[in-house]
Amino acid sequence: MITRRSTFRIATGIASAAVLGSPAAYAADQAVKVGIDLSFTGADAETAARIANGAILAFEDANAAHTVKGVTFELVKYDDATATAGQYDPAQAATNARKMVSDKDYIAAIGPQMSGAGKAMSPILSAGNLATITPSSTNPDITDPKFAAEYRPAGKAIYFRTVATDAYQGPNMANYMAEKLKIKSVYVLDDSGAYGVGLADAFQKQAEAKGVKVLGRDRLDPKAADYSAILTKIKAAAPDALYYGGVGQAGVKLAKQAYEIIPNVIKAGGDGMQSADLLKGAGFPAVQGWYATVASPHVTDDPKTAKFRERYFARFKIYPDDYTVTCYTAAQVIIAAAQKVAATGKPVTRDAVRDAIQNVALPDSMLGPIQFDENGDLKNKIISVFQIQKDDKHPLDDPASQYKYVGVAPMS
């Protein structure tokens, strides 16, 4: 019945060309697989494609430049969305994790996109000692030592992140808004999703601790179109600021309608509001003035970043967004780890790669220095704050030119 694997490979263009072009040169290469599990179909498909591009670019580069001696990477896409669920499906994510674990060629994985999928995958990956690096799932539970018995029963950290968890992004922004923007009151919204709710919860808690009055907390249905009732309620409550935890699906509509109903309230969100989708879908003037955070230090005028953007655009004809970079970095971490293992002369196995990832130190990634703590979280927990300020000289839907860096959100 079921005899073939439900995966589809992307033979990365350059890699296959190199192998085909001079088969003798790399015939002895160890072909290793890296799985990338994202929600390639359904509600989050577009974001997934953009995220995956980051990894595709990184592995194409590594194969072309032969970064890791004796190793060719094959990136295998796994879709964790099903038509049955209409979006990401934790059961499918678990199946994918099992598929990767049961194939010894897999040395590491990237993903998943959603924390709900991560919760289903993590125990399986732990049992198989296959490390994964998530570019976008931010729910703190999975790497919380409190739940170590559930999410890493084998003991070692296997769920690494190149994003900060909600546990920092929300609270730090609360500090920023209280200290720098001097807000006295705030209204908090989320978008019903795991990411948005977690972010808003963390924000709300710290805002209260900082003495900011939380005038209300409510939840948007991301599929509904009309937020005017809730915005009217916020208008009547007259807060200094609105904080929204969530992604663009509801964010676009919120930005549009908030601009009309509460134009003078300070509006802020997390990294979910740092996207081209928002600029394109809501557009100016509605998005003008929104704050958004990114869970990495801002490396201004870094030629690396500019070069990456250029190459990315040349390859995919769209601008990279935040999670593209986190995914690119995740791939860089895996490549660096494989490099480290290969350098010792030992075979590149998943056990060795996991340990190498744990101890990896990428000093100058686009996200700043990358190192993981013993739970798999980034050691570096700097949260950068951006504000949307219209810049007519650049494309109006390019996040890099429309989001202005305004500073670092203070740690608690």
Binding site: T95, Y151, S192
Partner: protein, 676 residues
């Protein structure tokens, strides 16, 4: 495909349709079971085994939905709600999500192993440790309760309203799960749900043990579904699906059996929920949204509504189609594209089009193969020439010796006193009095629209009376539900024939006995000795009744009634009513649409019932039939009783003549006008 079709068809064959394939079917099942049992060893890929285990979950869900939609015909668009309830039930009671403070109250539960005392700094807390094996059956009970709770408000609603209300419940449950964070951990999802343990060993993360549990669950629920389908319960559901009014008139308690369908269907989903989250060890509200409910409906429709093997096949196919076949197909097309150097082929991605493909499948299935891959209604055996050409018979029923005589108590069986029925401003019956002596035959005649059928409807509880009383054997019938009226011994036929069209002759007649049988769902599934005896007796009695009509019906026992001739459908309807062992039989124009020879045959058959002592109330237009059968005739016109008496008296009654002829004359005049 054809061979497979045949295999499944033979499995689904019911008694009497052919005993021969019994062995073949057993062998087929055995081979199937062996392959499925050996699968994890033949194909040692944890991911694929897990895929198969997921497909099992959906197969169970489809089986449950099939009970509600396929058997009972109740369109449920929010079925995933029960899946969610089962999932959260186990999730909450086997994780660290809810931890009330410890008190003495919890001691007995701790002794049962349901909770344990833990301390995480601060006061002692309760940690729920519900075992998976205990959770499975209890989840069935809990979700069955919710099935009844959600089903109850929908009982009075027509099918389409039912769909929207269930859809509403399907929306509400995930929203509640998302909003009550303290209990469900909201959108973030439950953490650390216990994996099942067996003899002290945890299932852990390996897919194989879950695969076997899933397989066992599917096997169990296929078994339960088949047993229920072929029982009194299943027949009642299918009767409701086919024609709720007729089902109720044949003694089926609609409330009870609709709720039972909801409850049992929900129980299946609840058990799947437990299984599903135990395997995943997490649960988020998104797992249970409308997409899941609608995809389950697609599975049921694809497989064949009401077909047990069909819906399992539908679920497994759709699940494998999206997780295995489409990605694989995409890979092949890309390889083909690379080989041919066609970049267009390399860009095709079937995975992104999964839903599109499902949509097309749905539409195409509905247009060209509505009954699904494995239709629930079987092919009918062809009739022989001899069987098709039944001779007109004279002299009443044959094989009457098998029917016990009625011995009615003397006096009036049915007493209708001053019954008035109004529809808005229209008075359909105006203070009508009527008595039927025990053992007698009374005919009701009157022009069309005179209230004859309304009289039957009010007696059998289908229509409410505005005033009056109807006593049967001294007890009041007014206010009773139709099924209660039948239980008292009042059975009827309908003027426009209301059989259960997609069921066969035998099933129709068996449903007639519903009120006289007692087996509940448990007895039906377990085939208790009592249940087996009862079913055997019921089949015997049905055969006796059908046997009365000789070779009119006997060769057609396994034919679905929708394919029968008009006269034969009338006969089946009478047989169905007789099967309920009535004390009085209400026949609404039994000979309508029959030719004179058939009319005479039926009249004599009815007469032979009368001779056995059965009390009969008859609506009839054919005066020769009335004269032949009736002791007394009641004439209605415009809801008023205008005459009553012996047939020959009534024939000469002037008012009756005007009622009939006046109209006929007017109609004739109008006809002439029109022609001009």
């Amino acid at each position: 495909m054809k061979a497979l079709d045949a295999m499944f068809t033979s499995i689904a064959v019911r008694p009497f349709a052919g005993m021969a394939p019994e062995r073949r079917r057993a062998l087929g099942l055995l081979v199937l079971a062996a392959v499925l049992l050996a699968f994890p060893y033949i194909h040692d890929n944890d991911g694929d085994i897990d895929s198969a285990a997921n497909a099992m979950s959906y197969a169970v869900l489809a089986l449950g939905l099939n009970i509600v939609v396929g058997f009972a015909g109740l369109l449920d668009l929010g079925y995933a709600a029960f899946f969610a309830i089962g999932a959260y039930y186990y999730g909450i009671f086997s994780s660290f999500q809810v931890m009330p403070p410890w008190s003495g109250f919890w001691d007995p539960f701790a002794m049962l192993g349901l909770v344990e005392k833990i301390n995480r700094g601060g006061p002692d807390l309760v940690h729920f440790t519900l075992s998976f094996w205990l959770a499975l059956p209890t989840a069935a009970v809990v979700t069955a309760f919710f099935g009844i709770l959600f089903g109850a408000p929908t009982l009075r609603l027509r099918g389409d309203y039912l769909a929207i209300v269930t859809l509403g419940f399907g929306e509400i449950v995930p929203i509640v799960a998302r909003n009550v964070d303290s209990v469900t951990n909201g959108a973030a999802g439950l953490n650390g749900i216990q994996a099942p343990k067996l003899f002290g060993h945890s299932f852990g993360v390996s897919a194989t043990p879950y695969y076997y549990v899933g397989l066992a669950l599917v096997a169990l629920l296929i078994f339960v579904s088949l047993r229920l389908r072929d029982s009194r319960i299943g027949r009642a559901w299918m009767a409701i699906r086919e024609d709720a009014t007729a089902a109720s008139a044949m003694g089926i308690n609609l409330t009870r059996f609709k709720l039972m369908a909801f409850a049992i269907g929900a129980a299946f989903a609840g058990m799947t929920g437990v299984y599903f989250v135990a395997k995943l060890q997490t649960a988020t509200p998104e797992m249970f949204n409308f997409a899941v409910s609608s995809m389950l409906l697609v599975m049921v429709v694809l497989g064949g509504m009401g077909s047990v093997w069909g819906v399992v096949l539908g679920a497994v196919l759709l699940q494998l189609l999206q997780t295995w076949f489409l990605p694989e197909l995409t890979g092949w097309v890309h390889q083909l594209g690379a080989a041919l150097g066609a970049p267009l082929l390399q860009q095709i991605d079937f995975v992104n089009s999964t839903q599109l493909i499902f949509g097309v499948i749905l539409v195409v299935m509905m247009l060209f193969r509505r009954d699904g891959l494995i239709p629930a209604t079987r092919k009918m055996p062809a009739l022989s020439y001899a069987a098709q050409h039944a001779e007109v018979r004279r002299g009443g029923f044959v094989n009457l010796d098998r029917i016990p005589r009625w011995s009615p108590a003397p006096g009036n069986a049915l007493e209708v006193r001053g019954v008035t029925v109004k529809f808005g401003g229209l008075v359909a019956l105006n203070a009508v009095d009527l008595t039927v002596p025990a053992g007698g035959v009374v005919a009701v005649i009157g022009p069309n629209g005179s209230g004859k059928s309304t009289l039957f409807n009010v007696i059998t509880g289908l229509v409410e009376a505005n005033a009056g009383s109807i006593k049967f054997e001294g007890a009041e019938l007014l206010g009773l539900a139709p099924h209660q009226v039948l239980e008292r011994g009042v059975a009827r036929t309908f003027q426009n024939i209301r059989l259960f069209p997609n069921l066969n002759v035998l099933e129709n007649v068996l449903i007639g006995q519903h009120a006289r049988l007692r087996s509940g769902p448990f007895a039906s599934v377990l085939h208790t000795p009592g249940n087996r005896a009862e079913e055997a007796a019921a089949t015997g009695w049905a055969m006796d009744i059908i046997g009365l009509f000789g070779n009119r019906l006997m060769p057609r026992i396994a034919q679905t009634v929708s394919g029968l001739s008009y006269a034969n459908r009338r006969r089946v309807e009478i047989a169905r009513a007789l099967a309920s062992r009535p004390k009085i039989l209400l026949l609404d124009e039994p000979t309508a649409g029959m030719n004179p020879a058939e009319t005479l045959e039926l009249a004599e058959q009815i007469k032979s019932l009368h001779e056995l002592g059965l009390t009969i109330l008859l609506i009839e237009h054919k005066l020769d039939v009335v004269t032949r059968l009736a002791d007394r005739v009641v004439v209605l016109d415009h809801g008023d009783k205008i005459a009553e008496g012996r047939p020959d008296e009534v024939r000469r009654n002037e008012e009756v003549l005007t009622a009939y002829l006046g109209r006929a004359a007017r109609a004739a005049l109008m006809e002439e006008d029109h022609a001009r």
